[in-house]
């Protein structure tokens, strides 16, 4: 179906306006351009009001104003009637025409207020033979359901801003809900399947009344079913929590990509400062130790040349065998006193006596020196040991001081690096992002752990359920009295099985179809084609936009890119819905950058070759990227102009 024209009478800014949407052979693209306040969004509201009786996109200004056009109210006399009406003329398959008309009746009271007298909604249909039929009430609403069902209208008539918010607000469950509504899987799941299950339960209960064994088996089955439902709910909740947490982790991960880990850096910096203080303390200790050692060893160090010389001298004397002396002093003195050689017994002559005296002098001197030198040897050795020990200690302390100096330099360098890494960032916000990410990581992990346990539990209870079902079936078969009931139970169970199989197959097929179509549309729409690797709709209906590097990036893409993905998803939903209804978007590219605008224009043009596409632009939005591409392709172009007193809007064909 498509919209042929809309006629607005006394509806808000529009006193009498007719907008036709003629189709070209190869395209069905239309746009209306109007500045804010000219009633552009009220065209969207008018269609909603006509079809569904509400105005979901009403601005705050319009909310304060009456439904009826202000000029019309002004011109209506006291006690006189007036009406507001919107007609949507639609063209159905095989040349049939449908006119939806909603009309609200008012009467002006003495205070000048337009009092609502009632609303009529009717649908006029003309078939290909020219037969006309008018229906009202439920039958009229049924025609709306065949055109664009109320529950899924937001995917057909919407504000472009909704596209931007779509993935911010939508969780997997919301998307699943949308998909199920659009594809009518919910009709199978929540209506037919659930009610058949209830009917089957009722029948089984009835059979149980005829036989206690059946009742026992039924009660058991009911209990197991209860347990199973509870576990399934918990599994779903866990999966939901995991999905939310996973998205959040990815979102914060994206935000933090390339951003320094402020908290870790701060911790490191604090640690470095503590290390710096500790090292500096150690350095001071070592320097003090060196100083004390130098003071303590000062005397020895000053005497060290003399000690070394004395030691060398003693060593020299020993080498020359002057120490100890070769002749005993007492012996020489005895020879001189006796004037006779104690060895050979000869008397000493003058020259011999002189020689002995010389020897005695020499020996006396050498003996004293030798004695002193021998006495000095031990303390000198001790001094030398102390000097050696000093040298070793001073070398070790100096080495440690050098090492500590290097550590301090390293710490200072790292601190400077950290300072420059952290410079220019909002530390508070980054810290908060890290905390949030950590929090959601914990939630994800905790739920994943729980989910594992629950899945095992679910498998066990599913086995119990199958067993209990078999027991009940067996008891039912045994009961002849309840043969009629047994047949109904079997019939119901069989029907339920068919519904379940159909639903499961449709769920899989629909999800895969939407995933394929979203991927296809997005790859056409998006400008940075090499940036994005894939679009995935997971079994839990969470949407993943995968970067070409392999990571999830939905949380970090620009508003425009997010809008393009939502538009792709919406178009995929259209296909899955099986409804060949028009798409009407108010401000479709307000948040999209210039290059992406051209891509949106291209895709919408392509969409318009198979689906009627009506776009409501502001003049700013209708930039050269859009007009350059769309002008030649549009089937219809309109401009909205407001009268000077701002009470009436006119539509001009461009």
């Amino acid at each position: 179906m498509r919209i042929e024209k809309i006629i607005l009478t006394n509806y808000r800014q529009f006193r009498q306006v007719e907008v036709t949407f003629p189709r070209k052979p190869d395209t069905d693209l239309h746009f209306v351009i109007g500045t804010n306040g000219t009633g552009k969004t009220n065209i969207l509201n008018a269609i909603n009001w006509c079809l569904y009786g509400d105005e979901p996109h009403l601005s705050k200004d319009s909310q304060r104003l009456p439904l009826m056009n202000l000029k019309t109210i002004d011109k209506t006399g006291i006690g006189k009637d007036g009406d507001v009406s919107v007609e949507v003329w639609a063209e159905a398959e095989q040349g049939a025409h449908i006119t939806f008309k909603r009309q609200a009746l008012f009467r002006k009271n003495d205070d000048g207020q337009m009092m609502h007298q009632g609303t009529k909604f009717e649908v006029m249909t003309n078939d290909e033979r020219g037969n006309t039929n008018i229906v009202t009430d439920e039958d009229a609403s049924a025609w709306v359901e065949r055109f664009v069902p109320m529950r899924i209208r937001e995917f057909f008539f919407f504000d472009g801003e909704r596209l931007d918010n779509y993935f911010k607000e939508a969780t997997g469950q919301n998307i699943r809900h949308a998909v199920f509504q659009v594809s009518q899987i919910d009709l199978l799941e929540n209506c037919v399947e659930r009610k058949l299950q209830d009917t089957l339960d009722d029948l089984t209960k009835e059979a149980g009344k005829a036989n206690p064994k059946i009742e026992e088996a039924r009660t058991k089955l009911e209990q197991v079913q209860g347990r199973l439902d509870e576990i399934r709910k918990r599994v779903e909740e866990c999966e939901r929590q995991i999905e939310i947490a996973r998205n959040k982790v990815a979102e914060y991960g994206e935000k933090l990509k390339g951003v320094p880990d402020i908290e870790s850096l701060e911790k490191e910096k604090q640690q470095l400062e503590a290390d710096f203080r500790e090292t500096k303390g150690l350095l001071r200790e070592k320097k003090d130790e060196k100083e004390s050692l130098l003071l303590e060893s000062g005397n020895i160090l000053m005497l060290w040349p003399a000690i070394r010389m004395a030691t060398q001298l003693i060593e020299d004397k020993r080498r020359k065998r002057e120490i100890p002396p070769p002749v005993d002093k007492g012996f020489l003195e005895g020879v001189l006193r006796n004037e006779t050689c104690s060895v050979c017994g000869r008397s000493l002559d003058d020259s011999s006596s002189k020689r002995v005296q010389e020897l005695l002098r020499e020996v006396e001197l050498s003996s004293e020196t030798a004695h002193r030198l021998i006495q000095m040897e031990n303390p000198l050795s001790q001094f030398r040991d102390r000097v050696e020990e000093f040298e070793e200690r001073i070398r070790s302390i100096t080495g440690e001081i050098v090492k500590l100096d290097k550590v301090l330099t390293g710490i200072s360098l790292r601190k400077n690096q950290i300072d420059s890494q952290m410079a220019g960032y909002d530390e508070e916000r980054i810290r908060e992002w890290y905390h949030e990410r950590m929090k959601f990581e914990e939630i994800r992990d905790k739920n994943q752990q729980q989910l594992g346990g629950l899945q095992v539990m679910r498998r066990d209870v599913e086995d119990d359920f199958d067993e209990a079902q078999k027991e009940l079936d067996s008891e039912l078969r045994k009961e002849k009295k309840a043969k009629g009931l047994t047949k109904k139970v079997a019939f119901c169970a069989r029907a339920l099985g068919v519904v379940k199989s159909t639903r499961e197959a449709m769920m899989k097929e629909t999800r895969e179809g939407i995933e394929r179509e979203t991927r296809k549309q997005f790859s056409k729409l998006v400008w940075k084609k090499a940036t994005f690797g894939d679009v995935q709709i997971k079994p839990d209906y969470s949407i993943s936009l995968i970067h070409s590097m392999g990571y999830e990036c939905l949380g970090s893409v620009s508003a425009g890119e997010r809008e393009l993905l939502a538009l792709s998803f919406t178009l995929a939903l259209h296909q899955a819905s099986g409804f060949d209804s028009p798409i009407l978007i108010d401000t479709p590219v307000a948040r999209i950058s210039d290059v992406n605008r051209e891509n949106v224009a291209k895709v919408l043009c392509e969409v318009s070759t198979t689906k009627q596409t009506v776009l409501l632009f502001t003049p700013d939005e209708y930039s050269k990227e859009i007009s350059g591409f769309m002008d030649g392709r549009a089937s219809g172009r309109y401009s909205l102009k407001l009268s000077r007193d701002e009470t009436e809007a006119k539509v001009e064909v461009l």
Binding site: E138, D139, A142, W143, E145, R146, P149, S183, Q184, I185, L187, L188, C191, V192, K195, L196, D198, T199, D202, L203, K487, K488, A490, F491, C492, R494, A495, G497, V498, V499, S501, T502, R503, A505, M506, E509, T510, S577, G578, F579
Partner: protein
């Protein structure tokens, strides 16, 4: 004519999964249209039960084979 359009894939799925069991197929398709046309009506138990009574009478277990 039913006032509501049903996704053709649902009807196809019901036909495929019913096999040759025309009674089940008809029963379910009727229920689906009933649900789509009168969503949320409170007397559904009565309607379901009546349909089960009616259709199961014409049905033999194993019809699908």
């Amino acid at each position: 004519m039913s006032s509501t359009k049903i996704n053709e894939r649902i009807l196809e799925g019901i036909r495929e999964n019913s096999g040759d069991d025309k009674v089940i197929e008809g029963f379910l398709i009727d229920l689906i249209y009933e649900e789509a046309d009168h969503l949320g009506q409170w007397w559904w138990r009565e309607i379901y039960r009546k349909q089960v009574d009616k259709c199961s009478a014409d049905w033999e277990e194993g019809d699908e084979n």
